[in-house]
């Protein structure tokens, strides 16, 4: 019976997040942020640094984390303008809240969408059942989602479970840019879920199509197929970021980090 003692060997390995801070989550480079505002003459060049068009200059210099694939080109080329931001709490409840620095209305918008979602999902209580559908991912998002049920993240302790049937599902996790072949299966899965339901777009591909869009077979994200409620950026997002998105959907965070540090 070697497995009994073997199973006790390392003690408890599970994170205490969200009750306690987690060092790995807090140190993880999950986003790019803007730290300086160069003059207008400089801006066109900055835009060209980004292979996915996440950097825009029309309303001042902005980075759209929904497009960013974290390649780090901008940080390497212009460290006085762009920087990595540590911390895995990158999920947001509105597409516009993924843009950094946040606009003047971001705080109000965040409060509104949080309130609306809370109204709708009050019946979830403290238990959440998930369903995952891959709509054209590169396969890495699946690993990060699957890690959530492992011993380190162990989302079961939070009352979150994967369900084998859409009839029991509260949350639909969608990965991938939205391939032509998955539009219909995605719609059918969503339809088969009872109300209230929440859609989480997991990863930059699911949010904007990332680098794999456009082709004859991919869309620029899944938002024009399904009503997305929670946006988890990253290519792929780390398990902590995905967990952050789930906790946002449940209204389980005491001080929701939804606007992002400026």
């Amino acid at each position: 019976m070697p497995w009994i003692t073997r199973g006790l060997r390392d003690g408890i390995v599970t994170t205490r997040y969200p009750r306690r801070a987690d060092g790995y989550a807090d140190d993880f480079r999950s986003a790019v942020t803007v730290t300086g505002q160069p003059g207008p003459a400089d801006r066109a060049g900055l835009q060209r640094l980004c292979p996915t068009g996440a950097i825009t200059v029309e309303r001042g210099l902005e980075v759209d984390r929904g497009r960013c694939i974290l390649c780090g080109r901008c940080v390497a080329a212009r460290p006085e303008v762009f920087a990595y931001e540590a911390g895995a709490e990158t999920a947001r409840l509105h597409r516009r809240l993924l843009v950094t620095p946040p606009g003047p209305d971001a705080v109000a918008l965040a409060a509104t969408v949080r309130h609306q979602l809370a109204e709708r999902t009050r019946r979830f209580g403290r238990s959440l059942h998930l369903r995952h559908v891959d709509a054209g991912s590169d396969g890495s998002e699946e690993w990060e989602i699957a890690a959530l049920t492992g011993p380190i993240y162990d989302i079961h302790r939070l009352g979150i479970f994967f369900t084998p049937s859409p009839r029991h599902a509260d949350v639909l996790l969608v990965t991938g840019a939205g391939t032509a072949g998955m539009i219909e299966p995605l719609r059918l899965t969503h339809e088969a879920m009872p109300d209230p339901k929440v859609v989480v777009a997991v990863g930059t591909d699911a949010i904007s199509g990332g680098l794999v869009h456009p082709t004859y077979a991919t869309r620029g994200g899944v938002a024009d197929i399904l009503p997305v409620d929670v946006w988890v950026p990253g290519s792929p997002p780390s398990p902590f970021s995905i967990l952050h998105g789930l906790l946002l959907a449940m209204g389980r965070l005491r001080a929701p980090q939804e606007v992002g540090r400026a």
């Binding site: 994967f162 072949g181 780390s238």
Partner: protein, 501 residues
């Protein structure tokens, strides 16, 4: 500046009607069929190229189709491994292999107008999805079908299977990939050679390092760039850690399916620890943004000695767990004799990676095509087995994980021993021409065929091991029952992103 067109791939020109015979003849001489690619030419004609690998490296047999004619005699009757490649080219480019045994749609739905999206080498309208179910092929009293996918319960990549059965046995399995097909290789054509590596990392996201490395090798060959030794060592370290997590993933699925709860949890912890080590080394859990054409992005972010100590700790824990697991009868019983791939079938098909090595096909690109620093690090090819079942594939992976841990440690130590390291050399403007590069990815040989003109990528064709191996997947079900499915699938280590393209 004009220069000679670079083309390092030895090529035999063949007549269109002779392509099949010529390829079969080349394969008969101890070479392995490695893929069929096409390249539209400027004059509207199509070049069709069969790549083979033998002791003398890679070479190809090429035929050019006349203008306006997209048909050619099928290779599949003489070279069965070409069957899926021909289906893919038919789906996407409308190339018609005359005499193909079964030209069913594979990566794209059948279109009524018969016009595939890439028929003339240009992007056409978006694909119209096919929502009808796969039709059954087998028939008989009591025969019925079980559709499995595209949406499956649990966290899986999208793929559609159709199991045809009398109840328990699986006499026939069909699959379809078009739900997941992204046409991702087409996106390379819009990118600069520097940006191409970012897309390569996303062709098969679970093997990002292998893809970035293969793509970069092709660019380095085109530009005759010499990569610094320390960069090559660091590439080896990242590639081997990537192999470890991919093999662990297969074992995690095995232990999950056989209800080995403790082993499953332990392996999941080992995998997460390696993922965290990778993110400590480079900031990314999948080793992205490490390999670039010309070298690596920069130095490791933790001291090599510290990383080596962590590898020793994880490796020791894994070795002890693997030893216990490989004598646990309730685990072995589920894998032994399950999903057998016959040795002669595998030899004929040229199966790659651990799938091949569990059925007598010993080839490993790390020793066949010395690249990186494997030779200097004393790479010892893992055990090759002949049982061909899921257990043999698991054993091959257990051995490879331990060798990969050793290689990663040795590579990191070698990096630490180099004074004043330089991490990359600038890459010259990419000349006109093409190059083929290969590495041993976690699931087997990964190929990149890269063509460039005027300093831009004109065509990049990745060929994942999973695509080549997947054709054998339905052949592994002889005598197995429905509850064996999970082990056969996990032991193949399929990446659907890599298969569907």
């Amino acid at each position: 500046m004009t220069s000679e067109r670079v083309d390092a791939l030895p090529t035999i020109e063949a007549d269109r009607d002779e392509l099949a015979v010529a390829t079969a003849a080349v394969c008969g001489g101890g070479r392995r069929f490695a893929g069929l690619f096409n390249a539209p030419r400027e004059d509207g004609r199509t070049r069709l190229e069969a790549v083979v690998h033998g002791r003398d490296g890679y070479s190809s047999v090429v035929a050019t189709l006349p203008v306006g004619d997209r048909s050619y005699p099928s290779l599949s009757r003489l070279v069965p491994a070409a069957a899926w490649y021909e289906r893919e080219l038919h789906d996407r480019y409308g190339l018609r292999p005359v005499g193909h045994p079964r030209l069913d749609p594979l990566v794209l739905p059948r279109r009524d107008d018969g016009l595939p999206p890439l028929a003339f080498g240009h992007r056409h309208e978006p694909v119209v999805p096919d929502t009808t179910a796969l039709d059954a092929h087998a028939s008989g009293e009591g025969m019925f079908t079980i559709p499995y996918g595209p949406v499956r319960s649990g966290v899986f990549e999208t793929v559609e299977y159709l199991v045809e059965t009398f109840g328990e046995d699986i006499p026939r399995l069909r699959s379809r990939l078009h739900h997941k097909h992204r046409g991702v290789d087409v996106r390379f054509e819009d990118l600069s050679p520097e940006d191409g590596v970012l897309l390569a990392e996303r062709v098969e996201g679970t093997a990002s390092v292998a893809h970035a490395w293969t793509y970069s090798r092709a660019i380095e060959e085109l530009t005759a760039t010499e990569v610094p030794l320390e960069a090559e060592h660091l590439r080896v370290a990242h590639a081997e850690l990537e192999r470890v997590v991919n093999h662990l993933e297969s074992m995690i699925r095995h232990t999950e399916g056989s209800y080995q709860a403790v082993a499953n949890a332990r392996l999941a912890v080992h995998k997460e620890r390696v993922m965290r080590l990778r993110s400590a080394l480079c900031g990314n859990r999948f080793g992205r943004n490490v390999v670039i054409p010309g070298g690596v992005q920069g130095p490791p972010r933790v001291a090599p000695a510290e990383a080596a100590a962590q590898i020793a700790s994880i490796g020791g824990a894994f070795a002890a767990d693997a030893k216990a697991l490989m004598v646990t009868p309730s685990f072995l019983d589920r894998l032994r004799g399950t999903g057998v791939l016959a040795v002669d079938l595998v030899a004929d098909h040229g199966a790659l990676g651990p799938v091949g090595r569990a059925s007598g096909a010993a080839e490993d690109i790390r020793s066949e095509e010395p690249y990186g620093t494997y030779r200097a690090l004393g790479f010892a090819p893992g055990s090759c087995r002949t049982e061909g079942d899921a257990l043999a594939r698991q054993r091959v992976r257990v051995d490879e994980v331990q060798e990969s841990f050793r290689l990663a440690t040795a590579a990191l130590e070698a990096v630490a021993a180099i004074d004043r390291p330089s991490w990359w050399r600038p890459v010259e403007r990419v000349p006109d021409g093409r190059a083929l590069a290969a590495v041993e990815a976690p699931q087997g040989e990964l190929l990149y065929l890269v063509e460039a003109r005027d300093g831009r990528l004109t065509r990049v064709r990745p060929r994942c091991a999973a695509f080549h191996n997947f054709a054998l997947f339905p052949r592994a079900f002889g005598g197995d029952i429905l509850t064996d499915f999970v082990f056969i699938e996990a032991s193949f280590g399929l990446s659907i992103a890599g298969v569907a393209g």
